[in-house]
Symmetry: C2
Subunit: 189 residues, 2 copies
């Protein structure tokens, strides 16, 4: 819970009282490797604060998984479209390592937010941060070629490369595994 408190305090002002009022919406949950946090087709009812381990969000297209995001320690994992709208999620979220997460239940979170402005602001800031992260990676695809996307990740998110396999990274960068291998090779001076 300490990590979550630090995460919250880094984002917004949050009193002891708000923390206590937030508790009913929280629960800890563990996931084994390759266990689903969210199955595609299900409605996303939760925000997952990742304490330990990491997971990935992906779409399955013609039997092939296309990764759209990785969520590492001290980040919030969710499907923002399904969580916000209540519609089924087209993407799944799956644990890449054993995960310890603190789960925000949507219904209970909204009840707590209705009571306290600080919790309402917390929810807003979580969405804002999530949107900013999404914007960052969406921009990657809009303006860069594959090799530049790799360079960007190497510079701005080097920790990702320490954890994620080439296969998973290639899927995230939007190229075939073989192409990623060749991009690496091509630019070695």
């Amino acid at each position: 819970m300490d990590a979550l408190l630090r995460f919250i305090h880094a984002m917004t002002t949050f009193s002891e009282e708000s923390w206590i009022r937030l508790q009913p919406a929280l629960s800890t949950q563990e996931f084994k490797k390759n266990e689903f946090l969210l199955k595609e087709g299900a409605v996303c009812q939760s925000l997952f604060f990742i304490e330990k381990g990491y997971c990935r969000s992906f779409y399955e297209i013609d039997g092939v998984e296309k990764n759209t995001a990785f969520y590492l320690e001290n980040e919030i994992a969710t499907n923002i479209r399904s969580f916000g709208s209540g519609e089924k999620s087209a993407a799944g979220i799956i644990a890449c390592e054993p995960i310890k997460a603190i789960v925000f239940d949507k219904k209970l979170l909204f009840e707590a937010a209705a009571q306290t402005a600080e919790i309402e602001a917390l929810g807003r800031n979580c969405i804002r941060l999530f949107a900013a992260k999404q914007d960052e990676f969406a921009t990657l695809f809009n303006i860069y070629a594959a090799k530049d996307r790799l360079a960007y990740i190497e510079e701005k998110h080097p920790h990702l490369l320490q954890r994620v396999s080439q296969t998973q990274l290639a899927s995230f960068l939007g190229v075939a595994r073989e192409t990623l291998s060749r991009i690496r090779k091509r630019r070695v001076p």
Copy 2:
């Protein structure tokens, strides 16, 4: 202002009183064609509700503009990362047609939100909608090839094709203008 009220009511519950309290944060503003709503390098202090006309968000990379979004009537235009964080925007927003917009001033909006839960909820829902739209188009790039991205826009956002030139659309789809022309030609039965 009617269009804005309809937009708000479609999204969240909003009393007469909240509407009155929101007024100080609002102003109407007009932009000529090719006038900037937001210059790249500036901090985004506003949400622009588009009443008439449309605009596009773009990055300039090596002298070439890469479109990342179009904002048409009854949509909110902004740079979510700069608006949320207060950092400079790497993207610009420019009017593609003469625009009439209702501008939400960030500072005054936050003051109004601090007073009223409904306005706070409005802000949260605006961000949520914006994030959902962003997620939709980010996914486009993650999982589809260029020709499938075009097919998606044709099916889900046909009104875009009525307004936007091939050149602008190609930039948005992430292909050269010539390639878009050939994609169209290639699949005609």
